[in-house]
Amino acid sequence: MNDLVSFRAEVRHWLEQNCPEEMRKPFATEADICWGGRHCVFQSEAQQQWLRNMTSKGWTAPTWPVEYGGGGLDRAEAKVLQEELQRINARLALYSFGISMIGPAILKYASEELKRQHLPAIVRAEIRWVQGYSEPNAGSDLASLQAGLVDHGDHYLLNGSKIWTSYGDKGDWMFCLVRSDSDGPKHGGISLVLFDMATPGVSTKTIRLISGKSPFAETFFDDVRVEKNQLVGELNGGWTVAKYLLTHEREMIGESGLGQAGTRALSDIAREIVGLEHGRLADPVLRREIAQLELDEKGLALTLERARDEARAGASLGASSAMFKYIGTEMNKRRQELLMSVNGLQALDWSGPESSDGLLPKTWLRSRGNSIEGGTSEIQLNIVAKHLLGLPG
């Protein structure tokens, strides 16, 4: 316990010295988010400095082992770090699918060689990873994917396509689920491979969403060379890794229901815009919905906390991540709907400095995707019913 107290003091002191002032406030626009990678363009000196300081401690991946570049913290220490970052409203120094998704899978399933090759580069934000999972004919039924991997002597060749690749046009490397065996049960013929997006034969095309933004891309593979050592897990054993990785993805998306650190409470915004009458929000119907949402947000926050405490005590999150993904994304959609209601006409503005280029309606529209990407709400409910409630398939 005392160790934690002194660790906290140490962290606090370090952050005082190393977190630039400009990095201690919420993101103003999406452009403020730092993704790292080969083509990273920093928005400011402070952003670059902040990332460099955090990577120097390995604190972009606080719990990863030091030998792979991580921070080497245990869960209790990582929680302290998290709390101290929140305390000063520090921005996340790095958004990274490397850290949240493929990294944990590499740690658990990949060869020592791959760990040494990939993990330190992820921690240092040198490589930006993208995910190749869904295909045009493999959405909710992911295991029916067809992008084919064939043995070509000392390497493999990959042909096919992926869709809904988040930031696919900006990625440096892809972790990709492929069909390596077409005979037998479909789950048993899938492998997870890694390759450089600069490999000849890889091309991407962005997809414009209702929000006007293009966070996803289609990715095409035409005789793409994949090295044989770039398999994560066994050949044809990719489904297990894929499921493990999806658990991380769901958990991450689930937490997004709580809003970003530093964003204002919905009721504060409503109080300002709608006003109070006799101490109550002037619109009683809207007030009711806001109160209901704030109750639920409290419930989700406490449940995430409980899940972490249980995990620390040795329980595994497993299928609960499906529940968190479902609750979190549905809650975020409710929040965005209410923000639109609260803001009235202001919320309809699509461009111009008054509305930060339509940030509000674009965020609202983007939130519709939350309960689709990473597995639809309906798929999450299927998982809960089957794996947590033991209902028959």
Binding site: S267, L281, R288, A291, E294, L295, D296, R306, L391
Partner: protein, 375 residues
């Protein structure tokens, strides 16, 4: 504090479950109802609960209590929610004990707390006066008279009131803005009580207070208390209700899931239908949130959290909503058998409604939650 139970707490919960499922399961409640039990609970079962120290749970050791805390009490209440066992554990062991502990003077504490702890004295809070919940619209008066008071008024829906030995009555001393609490004996001259059978087999009492003469020592803490101070007692009671609601809801849900796995129609278990699976999974998610909220609230009580209003109203609004939904779904998913008196699921629905309504329903608490947050 980590949101998990200690080993000691888990053991307490397990032993409570074992006792209640064996000695006082739902059919015990049914037989009390069918016999037209006068108090609504069984004295022998209450004695056994008392022997296990349940009413002593939150009472400090200095007053012959166990000092095991609110989390422990909440876990036992969850189990009484699962078995629907009627007893004065909530009214006397949690609510009255908290009121004495928070508001009584030293003499009153040492007079009453040990007897509440042993279960020999059963104290019920007599508070509400109107059908609509307005805890601070109290018309019962206490008129100073020499060294004591004259009490006049009426009280409704006093929980376990027909079996209580004492009442804690809220009243306004003439000339004072704030309310006071008075301890009355059930057989006090001028006090008449009549039974009011509630829809879940609880027996409430309606009280008439006519020129009841009490001496000054009957006034808790010998003073009046602000709304905030009195609300603390009510908020502890509400969190206790939430624990019980959680037990009611989870038991109903588990029974319903078992039914979905067993019951066959169209040649398959009905639990294989996605329409039911999704409703079940949504409810499960809500119940997980309820579980976290209740555990957090109980732990906050044990940690001495001073500001209970938002915490209690948040919890009561959510638990009421979800317990009503879980029990209503319990009936619906059981189909025809779910609507029969012979089957037990309906008892849970009834208990949920009682717990929801007493001490403010979900509408009341959602409104109060918003007010606490400044809107």
């Amino acid at each position: 504090m980590a949101l998990i139970l200690t080993e000691e707490q888990s053991m307490l919960q397990e032993s409570a479950r074992e006792f209640l499922q064996k000695k006082a399961p739902v059919k015990h409640l049914r037989s009390l109802r069918d016999q037209g039990s006068e108090s609504g609970f069984d004295a022998a079962i209450w004695q056994e609960m008392s022997a296990m120290g349940w009413p002593a749970m939150i009472i400090p050791e200095a007053y012959d209590g166990l000092g095991f805390g609110y989390t422990g009490m909440g876990l036992v209440l969850q189990e009484t929610g699962r078995s629907l066992t009627p007893s004065p554990l909530f009214s006397s062991g949690l609510v009255a004990a908290s009121a004495f502990e928070l508001l009584a003077n030293e003499k009153q504490k040492s007079d009453y707390l040990p007897k509440i702890a042993s279960g020999t004295t059963i104290v019920s809070l007599a508070w509400d006066e109107s059908n609509r919940y307005q805890p601070f619209a109290i018309n019962t008066t206490a008129e100073a008279d020499g060294s004591g008071y004259h009490l006049n008024g009426q009280k409704l829906a006093v929980i376990d009131g027909m079996g209580a030995t004492h009442f804690l009555v809220s009243a306004r001393v003439e000339g004072e803005a704030d309310l006071s609490l008075f301890v009355l004996e059930a057989n006090q001259t001028g006090l008449t009580r009549s039974a009011s059978r509630a829809l879940d087999t609880h027996v409430f009492a309606n009280l008439r207070l006519e020129n009841i003469v009490v001496d000054a020592a009957a006034r808790l803490g010998a003073q009046s208390y602000s709304e905030g101070e009195l609300s603390r007692v009510l908020d502890i009671a509400r969190i206790g209700q939430c624990a019980e609601l959680l037990g009611v809801a989870r038991e109903t849900f588990e029974r319903t899931m078992a039914y979905l796995r067993e019951r066959k129609q169209f040649g398959v278990p009905i639990g294989s239908f996605q329409a039911l699976q999704h409703r079940a999974a949504m409810l499960y998610s809500e119940l997980e949130m309820c579980k976290s909220m209740v555990l957090n609230a109980l732990q906050q009580l044990d940690a001495g959290q001073q500001d209970l209003a938002e915490l209690a109203s948040c919890c009561k609004a959510k638990l009421s909503e979800i317990a009503m939904r879980a029990t209503a779904e319990g009936i619906q998913m059981h189909g025809g058998i779910g609507m029969t008196d012979e089957f037990e699921i309906g008892f849970f629905y009834k208990r949920a409604r009682i717990l929801e309504t007493l001490l403010g329903d979900r509408h009341y608490h959602l409104d109060r939650f918003a007010l606490q947050r400044g809107y």
